[in-house]
């Protein structure tokens, strides 16, 4: 990230902290520079920055949120915030190019040693508890067996900026980090995704 744009991430983190607190609660794991995929429930646009703000500075510098290309590349302003502010990795949800693996940019980032923030539901929900997970997390887990998979529950954020609203309501939100998901050999995709989802729900 170029030095002249360092103010934007700082501003994003400051605003989200001032508005909703976003205090971390390390319940099952400790903050660490270990390479990780943080996966969480998704209910508002603040989610990404809230989770990102809850990480210690040095961990945040190497953690990249995953953003939907179709939504966040729609106009210049969104693209600017997400690339310059969050150093996001884009994922092509709609598979605009069918023969390209949509997970490739994520795999590239992991191969470089970065950690990722992923919302495996693929979209925002109106409820606080997560819906069924899409399979991306499963495939990444298979390709990178040494990366820790840390479940995260974002509390109260569905009340702050629900889907379809323009102005946030500043309520106190907490970001709960659970214990890294254990790896089980030969686990089916469905069983793995359900186990991952339950790990997030267990933190609620």
């Amino acid at each position: 990230m170029a030095d002249d744009t360092r103010w934007l991430p700082k501003l994003l983190v400051f605003s989200v902290r001032a508005l909703v607190g976003a205090a971390p609660r390390w319940i099952g794991s400790a903050p660490s520079a270990t390479q990780r995929i943080y996966f969480a429930n998704h209910s508002s646009h603040i989610d990404t920055v809230a989770l990102w703000s809850a990480l210690p500075d040095e961990v945040r510098a190497r953690t990249r949120p995953v953003a939907a290309a179709d939504y966040w590349q729609k106009d210049a302003a969104r693209r600017y915030i997400v690339t310059k502010g969050l150093n996001a990795v884009f994922i092509d949800r709609g598979r605009a190019q069918p023969d390209v693996d949509p997970l490739q940019p994520l795999a590239d980032a992991l191969a470089r040693g970065d950690s990722l923030i992923l919302f495996p539901e693929g979209t925002r929900r109106t409820e606080s508890l997560p819906g069924p997970f899409k399979s991306g997390l499963f495939h990444l887990a298979q390709r990178f067996p040494d990366v820790e998979l840390v479940p995260v529950y974002l509390e109260n954020l569905h009340r702050c900026l629900p889907k379809g609203t323009l102005f946030p309501v500043p309520l106190i939100c907490t970001v709960r980090f659970g214990a890294a998901l254990g790896r089980i050999g030969d686990e089916s995709r469905e069983a793995f995704l359900e186990r991952a989802r339950s790990a997030v729900v267990a933190l609620a």
Partner: protein, 314 residues
């Protein structure tokens, strides 16, 4: 003595008081051995440290001036309302009403104090917000627990914005012979109410036996209340020289502020418990949240304000 000199004397006095408290806390921390006593002393020391910071923030705002004081109390309302609504179950249909409370009602209420428009200041929330907020929620077409949700939002807005805004509203009052000194009266009221809280805590810890309302607030005792109320009233009377009151009037005003503060602590404890929480939040170390510190002030301020306005202004 000029208002500025009085302010310096007051700050000096508070400084000595806090320094003593810090010293006592330091000595106690070195002499304590048991585990349970350790927790009490650690909490005491955390509270004293938080007091240093709170006094410094208030003193700074008063020195900068009226606008800074208004901004400071607007922030107090903001954090208090944030704590209140975070603990209150609302539904997505309340989103617009809550946005309005945070981003329109708070600035408007404090701006009205800034412009000195007393009439609208006193009815903005009890009349206009009372009618507007439920309308916004009703337009969202969600009738589930509608009355409960509306009532809770209105109550939160009344306590955290309307009641607390009566502290800096003292700056609006035109008290004969007291021009330019209203900030001292504001400081006086806060000091009396907070010292009463501290003394009730200290007397309660030392002599507390008879619980007043064990279900609502197990730490409130008759001995703590009597000792704290008496001590704070005495201090209030002794500080008559920074107020527009005679020493006897100061004793009366201090006593009423103390009594209302006690009732505020009691009622907000009941509210907190009905919402299933022990503390309102965690932003002030050792004390809990903003509302844990402002609960007594929110009840004392409107009554103190109106008594002063009725009896001491033209």
């Amino acid at each position: 003595m000029s208002a500025h000199d009085k302010f310096l004397w007051l700050m000096g006095g508070i400084g000595v008081l806090l320094a003593t408290a810090s010293l006592v806390g330091w000595i106690l921390a070195r002499r304590i051995s048991s585990e349970s006593a350790r927790a009490v002393i650690d909490n005491l020391n955390a509270r004293v440290r938080a007091w240093w910071i709170m006094v410094a923030v208030f003193a700074f705002a008063f020195l900068v001036g009226r606008a800074a004081t208004l901004v400071l109390f607007a922030l107090v309302s903001f954090f208090a309302l944030r704590e209140f609504l975070s603990l209150t179950p609302t539904r997505s249909g309340d989103h617009r009403a809550m946005s309005v409370a945070f981003f329109i009602l708070i600035p408007a209420q404090y701006a009205l104090i800034g412009t000195g428009w007393y009439g609208l200041f006193s009815i903005l929330i009890p009349v206009y917000a009372f009618l507007l907020l439920p309308t916004l929620s009703a337009l969202a077409e969600d009738t589930e627990h509608f009355l409960e949700r509306t009532a809770k939002i209105q109550w939160g807005v009344m306590v955290t914005i309307y009641c607390i805004s009566h502290v800096p509203a003292l700056l609006m009052l035109d008290i004969p012979g007291y021009a330019g000194q209203n900030a001292l009266l504001l400081f006086y009221m806060l000091l009396v109410v907070q010292i009463s809280d501290v003394l009730q805590y200290v007397f309660g810890k030392l002599f507390g036996r008879t619980k007043i309302a064990p279900v609502v607030s197990p730490s409130k005792t008759v001995e703590g209340f009597v000792g704290g109320a008496f001590g704070a009233t005495l201090i209030g009377a002794a500080l008559w020289w920074i107020t527009p009151f005679t020493w006897l009037q100061a004793a009366g005003m201090a006593f009423i502020a103390v009594l209302m503060g006690f009732l505020g602590g009691l009622v907000l404890s009941a509210v907190k418990r009905s919402l299933g929480a022990k503390d309102w939040g965690s932003m002030i170390k050792g004390h809990g949240g903003m509302m844990d510190r402002m609960d007594s002030v929110s009840f004392a301020a409107p009554v103190f304000f109106h008594l002063t306005r009725y009896f001491f202004t033209v």
